[in-house]
């Protein structure tokens, strides 16, 4: 092992520290804000002068739109994720393993869709949904999420599936396993991490969306957290909603932090999967 000079150690420590502060400071601020008492929310201090959990109790109060929004966010994101991953797994399997004409076109088209400006399809979707009765419903959001999640999922899964040594499956069959056994015992465990990573990325993507949510929903029937946040009214008109916004912001950030902490390596791998093989 090389000996590190003190300068280099200090330099890298400083760099690490700057990154930590850069990444965490805004999050810390929102957390601080969420613990300010309603009377001190607008006092301009960074650390609360009066600590209180009132903002949290206000958003978990039965009258608050937040609980419904949280339920919608989870439900819509989870369903969209499951469907997107299933459809994308089929497509990615085909692209990674089978030879058929049109797969380059398919990948190109998916890439184009990923580049689409969502605002360009929001208008027609609103008009279609209002005629079909899908406006302000779960499917009304799940469907557009699928389109943008599918390219993401297909790309990530294709990259993962290409890494799988598919020959093992045939080897197992030669050794006497049934095709299903071979698939379940050999392929599924190899594919699972890629599928899980893709699911996480798709989930984060749906969880994050604002354009579709704010355009295609409007009540607690389907409004997701980001859209609900932008319309928070506070407990009453007399109390600024900033405290509740901060509290709600902290709550929706928790699942992301959990995912990031547990699956850091996978997310990085997923995001950079194809890029490495350029």
């Amino acid at each position: 092992m090389r000996r590190w000079s003190t300068d280099r150690i200090l330099g890298w420590a400083a760099a690490d520290f700057v990154v930590l502060v850069f990444a965490l400071f805004p999050v810390l601020w929102i957390v601080m804000l969420s613990f300010k008492s309603p009377a001190t929310v607008t006092d301009g201090s960074f650390i609360p002068n009066e600590w209180s959990t009132e903002n949290y109790s206000s958003i978990f109060n039965g009258n608050s739109p937040f609980l419904d929004a949280l339920r919608n966010s989870f439900g819509i994101a989870a369903i969209a994720t499951v469907i997107a991953v299933v459809l994308a797994s089929m497509a990615a399997y085909a692209i990674a393993r089978l030879n058929f004409p049109g797969k380059a076109i398919m990948l190109g088209a998916a890439l184009m869709i990923a580049m689409f400006p969502p605002i360009s399809i929001v208008g027609p979707l609103y008009n279609m949904w209002r005629n079909l009765g899908l406006y302000d419903t779960w499917p009304g959001l799940i469907i557009p999420y699928l389109t943008f999640a599918l390219p993401l999922a297909i790309y990530t899964l294709t990259a993962f599936f290409r890494e799988i040594p598919w020959e093992l499956e045939q080897a197992a069959q030669v050794d006497g396993a049934t095709p299903f056994q071979a698939f379940r015992k050999i392929i599924v465990p190899l594919a699972a991490p890629g599928v899980a990573t893709t699911a996480i990325l798709v989930f984060i993507f749906c969880w994050n969306d604002f354009v579709f949510a704010v355009s295609l929903t409007s009540t607690s029937a389907a409004q997701t957290v980001p859209a609900a946040l932008s319309q928070f009214t506070g407990v009453s008109q007399f109390t600024a909603p900033y405290g509740s916004i901060a509290a709600a912001a902290v709550i929706v950030t928790i699942p992301i932090i959990i995912l990031v902490l547990f699956f850091q390596r996978r997310i990085v791998a997923g995001l950079t999967a194809g890029a490495v093989k350029g």
């Binding site: 089929m90 380059a104 398919m106 869709i113 605002i119 609103y126 790309y155 355009s215 990085v268 995001l271």
Partner: protein, 321 residues
């Protein structure tokens, strides 16, 4: 929509060579036919969904843009040709919003490229704490854009008790329309904070492609760290840099969430972007014709940006694309 698009350098100039290449050679055997059929069947559901919810609406959007279609006056619906486009393109609002969008896009992407490169170098080369840095920088990436925007808005806005004006002793609101420069600054800051990690990860993937031996050899030959970076690392990373720039530029052009939230639900005209403009026509005025014309124009802009980059990418990798 935020930065969740995966970036697959390889995929852009995709060549379907992998898979079962050996068998693929045979001239249309039964087996190949079956394989082809299975491939199509497996892809069909995904393709159908993607076409149904993007290609069709885009076409429909184009159709609507040729109509006078204001939902408040359903009886007045009629075909008016390119009138809506004339209205949009002769409106000073479109051009000022276009300028806002470009300002935000150019400045934030440039800053992100520099910071992203630094962050990628830290992730790649740091003596210690690499795992920690990677984990921590994923937090801005994963955080809901609206939440990030609120964090910055509430920190900078005076009436909502932001700590920054309080620390600086500033009494006016930094993010109201009376103060366009600081308003832009806050939007750009929010964008940079949220998306630099994404940029860094893409660049990190590119850094991994630079062989250590090459750098070591250059070092032995007496090249300084700066020379090694500019003469070896950057040229080898060029495709990765272009891909990262492509994705971020497109993403920044579509900016909606942070500009909308920081602009107090899109009411600060000084940081109104083209996406917000389209949204206002479509969903607040319910003027689908005019709004669709804006949407189609945004779509065209995005396509132009993509084409420019893909061309650049093609020339950066001779033999491919």
């Amino acid at each position: 929509m935020s930065t969740n698009v995966p970036t697959q350098t390889g995929a852009i100039a995709e060549a379907p060579q992998r898979g079962l290449g050996r068998r693929g050679r045979k001239p249309i055997s039964d087996r190949a036919k079956a394989e082809r059929k299975l491939g199509w069947m497996l892809c069909a559901p995904a393709v159908v969904v993607m076409i149904a919810v993007t290609a069709y609406p885009i076409g429909y959007s184009f159709y609507l843009s040729l109509l006078r279609a204001d939902l408040r006056f359903p009886d007045q619906r009629e075909f008016i040709g390119l009138d809506n486009y004339v209205t949009v393109l002769t409106s000073s609002l479109w051009w000022s919003d276009f300028a806002h969008t470009m300002i935000i896009m150019v400045i934030s992407v440039s800053i992100e490229l520099v910071l992203g490169m630094l962050l990628a170098l830290i992730m790649h080369r740091a003596l210690f704490g690499r795992g920690l840095v990677r984990t921590v920088s994923l937090i801005p990436y994963g955080i809901v854009t609206v939440v990030a925007a609120y964090a910055f808005l509430l920190a900078f806005s005076t009436p909502s008790g932001g700590f920054i004006p309080h620390w600086l002793g500033i009494e006016h609101d930094l993010v109201d329309q009376g103060h366009p420069v600081t308003s832009f600054l806050v939007v750009i800051l929010a964008e940079v904070w949220k998306t630099t990690p994404f940029m860094a990860l893409l660049l990190l993937a590119g850094l991994a492609l630079v062989p250590d031996e090459l750098l070591e050899a250059a070092r032995v030959d007496g090249a300084t760290a700066w020379q090694r970076f500019w003469r070896i690392t950057v040229p080898l990373m060029k495709p990765a840099i272009l891909v990262a720039l492509l994705f971020r530029t497109l993403d920044a052009f579509r900016i909606f969430d942070s500009a909308y939230i920081i602009g107090q639900n899109g009411t600060n005209p000084k940081i109104e972007t083209v996406s917000i403009l389209g949204y206002n026509q479509l969903l607040n005025r319910l003027n689908l014709g005019l709004g669709s014309a804006v949407s189609v124009l945004i779509f065209i802009c995005v396509m132009i940006i993509a084409l420019i980059f893909i061309k650049g990418l093609g020339t950066s990798r001779p033999g491919e694309g």
